[in-house]
């Protein structure tokens, strides 16, 4: 199922499979946009819910759009805010019209509708917009999941209508639909068909990587991905661990985003070809060689593991930056490896080589790691 693709946007081409770093609040945390670009990132994510609340769409429009505001010249995908409304905001109340909720910042009451969310993303100047979806926390009753999934499908139709009314492709933005369905095979399949039939540019898979066992996520992907149109990009939302990227590409996914690589970095958890390590571990104290000898990132080519270790022990901000650069570059290189392997027809053996070498947590690092929250959409 692994496939090699290319997404053309007015701000440049995205070679897929691709990982998209997350810049929730119009900044990829701790990093300068030029640094993000130099990690090999082709497209970044920003978040409609967060940016609507602060600094607000009017301010971003005045600034000339999100790209100008944050000085990122590549493509930007904006998530709709559906996930945040149901996870971060308070007192979300869903009606057919839309959802009302209280801002997590100041408690102010806001409303989002499928139409308003398209308007917001057009206001940001987003290259790829996501529909508003109805996201449920799990576990939930099948009936509730079905209700939310069907509502998401109706909201997708309204989003498409709103998008077309605002110019459709002439807006220079495209719209993606989001598949839901919880961990219920029937609902996943039904939702996948609904998104597949919609007049959208791409198909996202939502509601996975929310704490379910990995075989369940794999099953959901295997059931639903084959139902999606071959010529449209498939975007698995909120997935970003190296092992999940490889195994989801193997199930036909083209695009990924996740806060995990940068959040883990800020907790001192760094990716290496052998697995994820904790830089605060005493064994790095006097390692006067890079964290990853094979890494060409701006951190590993200039600083040793001992210096990383010192910065984290001394709680210096530069450590957060160097670790973030390293993890994003690591994932970008994984995706480069994946793309090359697909091109040369050796993806299966490359996946096997990755699995044999990479350990999600290396050695005794686990106990020392700060807790990293289960995290999907930023």
């Amino acid at each position: 199922m692994a496939r090699r693709g290319r997404i053309a946007t007015t701000r440049g081409t995205i070679e897929t499979p691709a990982f998209m770093p997350v810049g929730t609040q119009a900044t990829v945390k701790t990093l300068d946009p030029d640094e993000v670009w130099r990690t090999g990132a082709q497209v970044i994510l920003a978040n409609t819910y967060h940016l609507m609340l602060r600094p607000g769409v009017d301010l971003i429009r005045e600034a000339g759009g999100l790209h100008a505001f944050m000085a990122w010249n590549g493509p930007i995908l904006t998530d709709s805010g559906g996930f945040q409304v149901f996870s971060l905001a308070a007192n979300a109340k869903v009606r057919e019209e839309g959802v009302t909720f209280a801002s997590h910042l100041d408690g102010a009451r806001w409303t989002m509708t499928p139409e308003s969310v398209v308007g917001l993303q057009l206001g940001f100047g987003s290259d790829i917009m996501m529909q508003l979806d109805h996201v449920l926390g799990l576990p939930a009753e099948r009936r509730a999941i079905e209700d939310a999934t069907e509502r998401s499908a109706r909201w997708l139709e309204r989003a498409v209508t709103a998008y077309e009314a605002r110019g459709g492709p002439a807006s220079r933005s495209v719209l993606f639909g989001i598949q839901q369905g919880g961990m219920d095979p029937d609902l996943r399949v039904r939702s996948a068909r609904q998104v597949a039939e919609a007049n959208v540019a791409g198909c996202a898979v939502g509601g996975l990587s929310v704490g379910e066992p990995k075989p369940v996520m794999a099953e959901m992907l295997e059931l639903s991905t084959p139902l999606l149109p071959r010529h449209k990009p498939r975007y698995l939302m909120g997935v970003g661990s190296p092992e999940d990227l490889w195994h989801s590409v193997a199930r036909g996914i083209d695009m990924f985003d996740c806060v995990l690589p940068t959040r883990a970095a800020r907790n001192g958890a760094l990716y290496t070809p052998d697995g994820r390590i904790s830089i605060t571990n005493a064994r790095f104290r006097s390692q006067h060689t890079p964290v990853d000898e094979t890494c060409d990132c701006e951190a590993c080519t200039r600083f040793t593991a001992a210096y990383f270790h010192h910065l984290f022990r001394a709680r210096e901000v530069l450590g957060l930056r160097l670790a973030s650069i390293h993890n994003l570059r690591f994932l970008a290189r994984q995706m480069e490896t994946i793309r090359t392997a697909i091109e040369s027809g050796t993806f299966a053996s490359a996946l096997s080589a990755f699995d044999q070498r990479y350990l999600p947590i290396v050695g005794r690092g686990r106990a020392q790691l700060p807790v990293i929250e289960a995290e999907t959409r930023a």
Copy 2:
């Protein structure tokens, strides 16, 4: 008294007057060393007390010295730790031999002597070393100030002897003495003469900018600076506000360091030609032009005041970085202006122009600024 100089080190020439950014723990807070260099910094400071405790001199020596460890290729001046022992550590006990104290990190007991401090700085590979001095908190009785000042003079002689025993200039490091004397005119003069007579490469002025009124600092400089040898650099420790830089250059100072510009930056206080502003002030919310239209820094040339404001409101680390880059570049440009004015014989009028335009705090920013601690040596 303003003078234009040049300090040759084995790692490059320092054009003076110069401001030195502070990298206490082997990192200029939030910044990459290449970014620091691109602000126009010619030399940075690091701190013996902090680095001795963490990561330790042995580790830095193993790493190939401080320059290699932190990837800074320009000159490094290391402060001796005298100030920190008496301000940050606990239970400092002074004997003629040296000072014992408890680490602020873990309470472990340490000793510093004039000789050990030279050894530590040689271990770091410092280009410019500072003597261990006996620093007193003010107010203090004249007798206590006299005692500490005389002890500092005796410690300077021992530092010189230790330095010469370790190779002197062949070590590729040079040693500076530190003038003390509190705010007592007689003791300042006596201490200045002692440092002037010592076999050191440069003369530092310590114990000022510790909360005294500006006219008192000016008086102390006017009394003591003329007694220092003309051909040696004069370094005023812990001074870094734009107005203090200008007025201290006017009194014959060549070198400065201070954590203030970077600490103020992290609190959202930014220098502009009109004075210091607070970026969190509501008037910057929708200012879609740079914080300082005349600034050529990597922050102002790419980002607007509105974006800075957003980053600080959203508590994003990138804001701390951009503000730090801006303030360091602002000071570097002030020093460039000062050097050019001295060269062209127009320093007096340039100083007057600065004074007429620059306000230490602009408008209503003061009330909104987080408290910035009175800070001298980092």
